[in-house]
Symmetry: C2
Subunit: 177 residues, 2 copies
């Protein structure tokens, strides 16, 4: 299983992507990514949302802004990361997942509006989570779920976060430990 | 496997939920749901987004607005649907999925801000896709993925939609059939 997963969210726009990018970042955290990088417009609200969730719910997922996605991609490639670009135009996840899972370090790119052609070219894998239009949030969740073998869904993963706030699963209401 | 899956999205608010609810609806479609119902504010833009995607990409997922979620829930229960409410406060999906998968007809509720207690009470299952805060879009995707055994990820599922527009999976760019 990948020991280090970093997410690169492309082309964040304000206010349009405020909530979608927050969902992308929170999925990244909840499904085991270590770090989130985003490009596009700088957004301190997005960053503080992620840090606020971490402060209460645990884990140590970090988020930083970068101007140039090309620089991020080439830098991570130099550091030995395999680059996976999520796009509905890519190859079905089912055909590539075993190969991707064997990689030690993964940079997973989540597109925004109009992803430049060089991203498709520079990615080691262009992967489709269905070849239908739906949601980058869903695509990222399914990708990470497959990479970490559904571990995020078990109670054990919760303990991994060691948060001050921890939910006690409940048949009919709300509860905390 | 469930033969009929309907999604109920609660408390849609404009403009705040515009994109999130659209992502919820498109995930519902791409992951095999037959019909989407939403409550909250009526939004013809949301409805036309779903219909526009269907017109081009195929399938026959429909979407309707309802004023009262309670009425929807009790009506579907009467029609023999099992009601599954997605909430991070619920029971881990891994512990209930086998039981849920055996049900013929499912109404899956995707919450909004401040879900009323009666929804927790009236649901047959309250299910957590992780007990961490992340995204209703991701939670729905993982839930449907598990219900339909990952079928949405294979090329065969694409043929199910029989859309005018169909992507030809590509290692490095974009292509269509």
């Amino acid at each position: 299983m990948a020991s280090e997963i970093v997410i690169l969210r492309l082309g964040h726009r304000l206010p349009r992507d405020e909530r979608i990018s927050t969902h992308v970042a929170l999925v990244a955290r909840a499904f085991g990514a270590k770090h989130i990088i985003y490009t596009g417009q700088h957004d301190s609200g997005l960053e503080s949302s992620v840090l606020r969730v971490g402060a209460s719910w645990g884990g140590n997922t970090t988020i930083t802004y970068e101007k140039s996605h090309s620089k991020v991609i080439s830098q991570f490639k130099k550091e030995g990361f395999t680059v996976v670009h999520l796009t509905m135009y890519g190859m079905p996840i089912t055909e590539k997942i075993e190969e991707i899972k064997r990689k030690e370090k993964l940079l997973i790119i989540v597109g925004g509006e109009a992803v430049p052609g060089e991203v498709y070219q520079n990615a080691d894998f262009n992967i489709a989570v269905t070849s239908q239009p739906h949601s980058e949030v869903a695509a990222l969740a399914i990708m990470l779920d497959r990479i970490i073998d559904g571990k995020e869904l078990t109670r054990g993963f919760d303990e991994f976060f060691k948060g001050k706030t921890r939910i006690k699963p409940n048949e009919r209401g709300k509860g905390f430990y």
